[in-house]
Assembly symmetry: C2
Homo-oligomer: 335 residues x 2
């Protein structure tokens, strides 16, 4: 049977939540990944050094693996240079959300005017703190990401030393931005390599595939696939795995998020194998991220084997993507 | 308080279902409408004269009003001229579904090649049987209706005496077709005058607004509004009210359909009043349909008044659109 060995896989965009949910999902990420960039959109959001340190402690306590590093983020505010200097060793990135764009983002920014943000973004440039961006406008749902491209351009040009990550990109327009500005990078989820809006709402409505940004058109997915499969040096894997309790997904007014943490590597093997690109998977899930972020990840080796794996219907209270379906790759062992 | 009197309102596209659901929803339609064109996509679909007559009897038994006429339809198959001649007095229209396009449409047509359909469509032309069309291709969900325009053109040109109804149109492209072919008409729902994909999936996911065809872009809604508000002579109201049990809508993989039967006229008053077009509502909800279909509807007068109406959270087992919300118009009385 065919096997694939991945060293130090990294998930550069994950939601671990807090409390009981953290205890459910943290071990599922820490089992197969060497590290993950942990998003700060809790209630209340992570905005102080103390909150970062305490959240990190709770994550470490919830993990079931010592060889895993939670890379911490702050929820963007107009922070002072002094504060950023004091917190730089505790964080890897700062995540900026447009207000209301997604789950628990109400405290996000209402405008991307440069001047009020200049002190913060210049200090981040100087201290080497990465800026992660949820890039969507308040426009029509299928256009929000494409409309946001002018904001990325403005940020990239005004802060040329700042590393800017276009998070969970879903459109051809975002793919085309990558080669235009040296300081723009991107994460791509595994579900956006697989689904389009057709999968969410083209047949029955499938709440477990509803996420933000919403899955787009076939030509958008094809553009994402192309750069992921070639492990374009400016893209990294970031699952955006975003658990919600089952009842909250299957109800009137369900929240956005696809839960993929425990199946992400298996799905990636399927996709990369299908396109004869398995040789590029290591770069997509680890090497690119280490280079872009300057991370030296905890050593971990994950061996996957081409053997059927039936995805559990539920992990505690969380329904994963592809629940009950059979994947063609399994985790063989983690060393 | 302002009042509006509608005479002989007609709902030219409604799903009354069967069994227990029929008993719940038929009285809600027969209360305020003089008649309704009843869709045939039951399981199994209505395809014989006997099924039409028996379904009509069950509808009459479930109604709570004598002054209501269920206009019956057959589920399209390649029927013989002889059959159509024998059934013409029992039906008003035949509804054609592309296979798999919506609820219970598996037995629909897999191709719109003209020749196999010629005998049926020519006989329908001769007998004055209207063709109602669910116009969607198997393409990407946001493009399905626009892609179907070439089929409408082909049908309209090949069967110039056949009255063809583009059902529940949702796009600017369909609006633009109306003036191109004299034998093309359209129904418009009340929900497609109000919502876009943003309402379904732009914030939280809202299964009770999920329908087929799916709600499109703001410019599409604006195009629909324009011709509805002017009561364009080739458009009619058809609610496409499509009840599903609550548990089936609020679950993993919910069916398509918005339930509006008991609130349709109130919502239409709101919309037409907001745009200073109340004078055109009578034509949109009755006169146009009577002229297009050659129907002489049962006499009924519905008086609406500008007074708050709180929409029930649920009608038996069916959640209506705007459940729990307050509308600004109420049904005052029905004479």
């Amino acid at each position: 049977m065919k096997t694939v060995t991945l060293t130090m896989p990294l998930d550069m965009h994950v939601h671990l939540r807090d409390g009981d949910m953290l205890k459910i999902v943290a071990p599922l990420t820490s089992y197969t990944f060497s590290g993950a960039l942990v998003m700060p959109n809790l209630v209340p959001p992570i905005t102080t050094k103390e909150m970062v340190k305490e959240y990190r402690s709770r994550i470490k306590a919830a993990m079931e693996s010592d060889d895993f590093e939670p890379y911490m983020t702050l929820f963007y505010q107009n922070f002072s240079r002094e504060f950023l200097e004091s917190v730089q060793d505790d964080i890897t990135a700062i995540k900026i959300y447009p207000s209301g764009a997604t789950t628990n983002s109400q405290g996000g920014v209402v405008s991307f005017d440069i001047e009020p943000m200049r002190e913060t973004l210049e200090a981040m440039s100087d201290f080497g703190i990465v800026l992660c961006v949820h890039g969507e406008t308040q426009g029509f749902v299928m256009d929000r990401e494409a409309e946001f491209m002018s904001v990325y351009e403005k940020l990239a040009i005004n802060f040329p030393k700042l590393k800017i990550i276009m998070e969970h990109i879903t459109t051809r327009e975002a793919v085309e931005m990558l080669d235009r500005h040296p300081n723009l990078y991107a994460t791509i989820t595994v579900h956006h390599l697989m689904i389009t809006l057709d999968d969410v709402a083209g047949g029955m409505l499938r709440p477990h595939l509803f996420c933000k940004p919403i899955a787009k058109r076939p030509h958008d997915r094809d553009a994402l696939l192309k750069i992921a499969l070639q492990a374009h040096p400016k893209v990294m894997f970031g699952s955006d795995s975003a658990p919600h309790p089952k009842h909250a997904k299957e109800s009137c007014g369900c929240g956005a998020g696809v839960f993929t943490a425990p199946i992400a590597l298996q799905l990636l093997c399927e996709i990369f194998q299908e396109h004869n690109a398995l040789d590029n998977l290591q770069a997509f899930v680890s090497d690119n991220a280490q280079r872009i972020y300057g991370i030296c990840a905890e050593y971990k080796e994950v061996v996957l084997v081409e053997r059927d794996f039936v995805v559990p219907e539920i992990y505690a209270d969380v329904v994963p993507m592809r629940a009950g379906e059979t994947l063609t790759w399994s985790i063989e062992r983690v060393d």
